[in-house]
């Protein structure tokens, strides 16, 4: 070939490189992304399989995150008021028409038919069980309470003195009513702090007269403040003997669902069609209307230690079956871990399903991750010579590490973006299939999906990148 003498005047060697305005990092990222696309282009099937793994995993994560957020917002909040060591026994056979697991409930409807089955004798029997710290029936309803010219609408509970243990009440002034007061159906009342302050702003509530509904009660005690549980004021309460409540207060109004007070956010109704997306509980009682005024719809049992709860639960079941003459195999007319815990159980089931789906998504993501690692390791092995050349011309070990890590990240982020897209589509599909599940692909779900993708890229890209960075340039360049 001819030498272009005329084109080259003077020295052919170049002066040392001018390093002003050098930007190594940004270019490395661009280069790595380009290099990743190039290697994906060369091994299309391998790249596609890897990306599919990531897509499935990330789509799963997206759906899970979206569902979890929906369930959280739709959850019947603040079931509290029941400690972990309190067992709720319902005097009804409870069933739910639909599983709560869809997480769709915006509210709760309880339909009651018949009378409750729990008697005073049952309560006495439960008190004798081992590990039982205290037992009380708890029936309640919202009523207006008057003291002179002042009046206040509050939650009125009918209970036994045992409610001090199950609810953690303690008396600040005066005394709690006794079991003898219950036996005599006395018209005595214990006020929560909020009620005491509303009715008797000047203090000295003890010994005063109040009127609940149309019945006069004398105040025997005021409770210490408990504070609030969520948006529920635990001190906005009046406690009267359960017998008095059932005979005097319940008689004054229409039959009500009288469990331990609906959880806040729950929508307790006795009839009518439920709005869409609302959970419906059926509560079936015994077919004897006369018992409605004598029996308790709800009894709470405090256990000495939360670890004994399962033992005590089965003991309660055995004791009540014996009392009620229920033969093994036939249906109980009560529910241990009843209404409130039923809701909790359903929510646990919902979260179990979420965890299960989460586990599947995690496995898919893990498989995708191993795919990334596999592709990257193969790529590192194939590109030994390239790595050697890069090292020889001045790439640092860190440059090589970064390049291969960024290549892995590129693959996983492409997968992540596709996965988030698929996840959103899947969520949309689910919302059309499951009535009442609103589709709201939240940004949090998108963020969760992409974080998962980046994490996979970093975790499973790090090892191949390290292998690449450890390449011996002499060995790598020796290969022809």
């Amino acid at each position: 070939m001819s030498t272009p003498d005329n084109e080259l005047s003077g020295r052919r060697t170049l002066p040392p490189l001018d390093l002003r305005g050098s930007t190594p990092f940004g270019q490395t990222v661009v280069l790595a992304a380009r290099s990743a696309f190039a290697s994906l282009g060369v091994h299309k099937l391998r790249g596609a399989l890897t990306i599919i793994g990531i897509v499935v995993g990330v789509a799963g994560i997206f759906v899970i995150a979206n569902l979890a957020l929906l369930v959280r917002t739709a959850t019947v909040r603040g079931i509290g008021g029941l400690g972990a060591n309190v067992i709720d026994v319902s005097g009804f056979t409870l069933s739910s028409t639909a599983p709560l697991a869809t997480g769709a409930g915006h509210g709760l409807v309880v339909r009651v038919s018949g009378a409750p089955s729990l008697t005073a004798a049952d309560v006495e029997a439960l008190q004798k069980l081992p590990h039982v710290a205290g037992v009380t029936p708890r029936t309640g309803t919202r009523m207006q309470v008057q003291a002179g010219a002042r009046n206040w609408t509050t939650q009125v509970f009918g209970a036994y003195p045992g409610i001090q243990i199950t609810q953690g009440y303690s008396v600040q002034q005066g005394a709690f009513f006794s079991q003898a007061d219950v036996a005599a159906s006395k018209t005595v009342a214990v006020l929560g702090q909020t009620v005491a302050k509303q009715l008797f702003p000047g203090g000295n509530a003890v010994g005063q007269q109040i009127r609940i509904g149309s019945v006069d009660f004398s105040v025997v005690g005021v409770l210490k403040p408990l504070g609030a549980n969520g948006d529920q004021d635990l001190d906005d309460v009046v406690v009267v003997p359960a017998s008095t409540f059932l005979q005097r207060l319940m008689g004054s109004g229409p039959a009500r669902m009288t469990s331990g007070g609906p959880p806040p956010g729950a929508n307790v109704k006795t009839g009518g069609g439920p709005p869409p997306g609302v959970q419906v509980f059926q509560a079936q009682g015994v077919q004897d209307p006369a018992l409605a005024r004598a029996n308790f719809p709800d009894v709470q049992v405090a256990v000495d230690d939360p670890s004994n709860v399962p033992t005590v639960k089965s003991a309660i079941t055995r004791a009540l079956e014996q009392d009620h003459g229920i033969t093994p195999g036939s249906k109980d007319d009560f529910t241990v871990g009843g209404f409130l815990q039923g809701v909790e159980t359903a929510q646990q089931a919902a979260s179990t399903i979420l965890w299960g789906m989460g586990a599947i998504a995690a496995i898919a993501l893990l498989i995708g991750g191993f795919g990334v690692a596999n592709v990257m390791l193969a790529s590192v092995a194939e590109r030994q010579r390239e790595i050697g050349v890069r090292l020889a011309v001045g790439a640092s070990v860190a440059d090589i590490f970064l390049q291969f890590l960024l290549e892995a990240l590129t693959v996983s982020v492409i997968g992540g973006l596709l996965g988030a897209l698929c996840g959103a589509a899947l969520s949309l599909l689910m919302s059309t299939q499951l009535r009442g599940l609103p589709f709201a692909p939240s940004w949090l779900a998108v963020v969760a999906a992409l974080v998962a993708a980046v994490a996979i890229g970093l975790i499973f890209g790090a090892y191949p990148a390290r292998r690449a960075a450890q390449t011996d340039p002499i060995q790598a360049l020796r290969r022809a």
């Binding site: 080259l8 490189l17 050349v389 090292l391 011309v393 640092s396």
Partner: protein, 253 residues
């Protein structure tokens, strides 16, 4: 300036390299003393296993000696960290390999702008620099956008030479640069190297072909990890002349 000119590009003292091969220790270099001055074109010859490749790897900062000292352009290389060695390879040394070692999916120009990239020089300045280097290595510039697979062997080696020049290094290390080329193309590459040498660049070239060594101003012979001969060659052959003679012969026949 004179002081800078006088400073040797390579100075090694008692350079030793042992490595393990399976269970046996190989004493690849047993104490090399050698100085290469600025502007020299040195051929290193010797049979395989004589240590010449090991020597090139050490001088090229791709490997560290077991013992001994090495100053590159006055820098005590033995004391440098791995990261500093990468910088030295980038700015001070250019490699030319027997099998070119170009990145297959990059164009000629992209291959040449790889060393500037690792120096942090990108974009238009890097491309300008790359084109200058390609011109210096005598690659027709219409080949700059071609991938290595679209270039002849001689063109590929010119790209590799351009890559070795691009950062303006003190030293070009060529490992059998004509080994994969036919005689004529090999001579063309030697002509390019000789012209670069004429312009003042320092070249160390490993070869086992006496024909190629004849174009260098100094021939160092290695045997069993030691320098056995170090002879200047006052008037080396010119590759251009050989090429011209070859052309005449072809015309005559």
């Amino acid at each position: 300036m004179t002081k800078d000119e006088d400073r040797p590009v390579i100075r090694v003292e008692k350079l030793t390299k042992d490595y393990r091969m399976g269970t046996t220790m190989v004493h690849a270099l047993r104490g090399i003393d050698l100085t290469v001055r600025r502007g020299e074109m040195v051929a290193i010859m010797g049979p395989s296993g004589s240590g010449k490749s090991t020597f090139l790897n050490l001088v090229g900062c791709l490997d560290r000696p077991t013992a001994g000292q090495y100053w590159l352009d006055g820098i005590a290389v033995s004391r440098l960290s791995t990261g500093q060695l990468a910088t030295v390879r980038n700015r001070k040394i250019g490699f030319v390999f027997q099998s070119f070692h170009l990145l297959p999916r990059a164009t000629a120009l992209e291959n040449v702008t790889l060393p500037p990239l690792y120096a942090g020089v990108v974009g238009a300045p890097a491309r300008r620099r790359g084109l200058q280097a390609l011109e210096a290595a005598q690659l027709p510039l219409d080949r700059a956008r071609h991938q290595p697979s679209e270039l002849s062997g001689g063109e590929q080696q010119r790209v590799a030479i351009a890559r070795s020049l691009v950062t303006g290094p003190s030293l070009i290390l060529a490992d059998e640069p004509t080994g994969n080329l036919d005689t004529r193309t090999g001579l063309e590459v030697m002509a390019v190297l000789q012209e670069l040498h004429d312009d003042g660049i320092t070249i160390v070239l490993v070869t086992h072909e006496p024909d190629i060594a004849a174009y260098c101003g100094r021939v160092v012979r290695f045997q069993d990890g030691l320098v056995v001969d170090d002879a200047p060659c006052p008037s080396p052959k010119r590759a251009e002349d050989t090429l011209a003679a070859l052309a005449t012969k072809e015309v005559a026949s």
